[in-house]
Symmetry: C2
Subunit: 233 residues, 2 copies
DNA sequence: CGGAGAATTGAGCGAACTCAACTGACGTGG
DNA sequence: CCACGTCAGTTGAGTTCGCTCAATTCTCCG
């Protein structure tokens, strides 16, 4: 059986070692284009191997709220192990490579191998920790702090995947999407990001951003790797 | 082995049948006084048999954010199955009766019985759904809508447990706690609840509340049982 | 009666929203 | 090659929501 280790709390997803072990699983690779549904099948789980995706739910009047951001190594639809019909979907924010795993197959694997059980539980619990962090952000941070928090969080998660060069990284989200994630209006999101730029905390327009002053940014965001993270490794 | 059924999505917790089956588990009953820590042990999970509790995390400057509300039948600290040191705690909002279950024992039980696995997974995923609902609330609802949403949600969850008489129920939370849950200031929470009262949507001060006009309340809150719930039952 | 915690009220301010217009990049078709 | 449409980003002006900083009432309990 596979010897999974605990998913890295820093990266919020599967580690490289885990992804390598994933090869032992009965899975299927798919490429999803930007804007498409990442999790079309209800009988399979979907693991992001590469690319950006976000979970969202549609609200009244055409609005929507993005409830989570997924990077490579993360499982997008763990809920499918239990519930088939949630009111949320997962959309690709960039071209994505996705591995599909049958829920039935995984369920059987978990019963056979306690390390796999640990992995699955850890991923689910991690999802909760991430969600709690977002709740804390929404409940206690101003717009500027939210934006700062977003960039801090992003740098950590991308850094853990080796997707940053220096403090520079690609961000394939439009400001509309960013505003739906941060729970702000588009206009205010724009002004807020500009403020971070003009204060010399970040730089970059369009798809490429760079963190200039990580210390001040974290201080502004009261970023403390949030809910713990590292555990009984 | 136990024959657990899926936890009720309506109530967000264990059903009566599940609680009855719980007797077969190796557990220990404890009474926690209001204000005390519900989950002191790190080697045990804690299931609320009766009472109110909330998960919170302390922020800078003495502030805190309540990230989840727990009613009877809910597991408060599922994260202990994976991570030992989270930055959050669970506090009793009223006197609580709590069942402690050893994490090791549960882990073994899950590997032996697929129904128990389903139960555990369902509970964890349900936590996520609840958290997503809160994120949606924070991201898209005004103060008044948040408060209305809170009462709608409460009525459903309490109703599923038979803890309402008519639309009347006890709410053992102070406005300070309510404000920490809704992500508003105490003053604004007070005014917001008053507004709901003066508009004839709810009634009641102190610890006892009553929903007068559920239709209007739900409409105001855009409450639609939120992230769905019922599944492949 | 005094004190503590909870709920309430008032006044003023600042953050975030709304509405509306405008720029710049890009692709497509005449 | 340029006119045009579209979409992302930006800017301005005015309004409203929610916050801050008091101070005051109410309730309960010793």
């Amino acid at each position: 059986m596979n010897h999974f280790v605990k998913p890295s709390a820093q990266s919020n997803g599967l580690s490289d070692a885990e992804l390598r072990l994933l090869g032992a699983f009965d899975h299927q690779d798919v490429v999803i284009e930007s804007g498409q549904d990442v999790c079309p099948s209800t009988s399979h789980l979907h693991i992001l191997l590469d690319g950006w995706a976000y979970k969202y739910t549609l609200l009244s009047e055409g609005r929507r709220q993005i409830t989570g951001l997924h990077l490579s190594g993360e499982i997008c639809d763990l809920n499918k192990m239990c519930f088939s019909a949630l009111r949320s979907s997962v959309q690709a924010a960039s071209q994505c490579r996705v591995a599909q795993i049958s829920t039935d197959w995984l369920r059987a694997a978990v019963l056979k191998d306690s390390a796999t059980l640990d992995l699955l539980l850890s991923l689910s619990v991690l999802d909760n920790v991430i969600a709690s962090n977002l709740i804390i952000t929404f409940g206690s941070r101003t717009a500027k702090e939210r934006a700062a928090w977003f960039f801090c969080d992003l740098e950590v998660r991308l850094g853990a995947r080796g997707k940053t060069s220096g403090a520079t990284f690609r961000l394939p989200l439009t400001q509309v999407e960013l505003s739906q994630y941060l729970g702000l209006t588009l206009v205010h999101t724009n002004r807020t990001v500009q403020a971070l730029r003009s204060e010399g905390l970040i730089d970059g327009h369009g798809a490429t951003y760079k963190i200039i002053d990580a210390i001040s940014l974290r201080s502004l965001a009261r970023y403390e790797a949030d809910q713990l993270l590292p555990a009984e490794e």
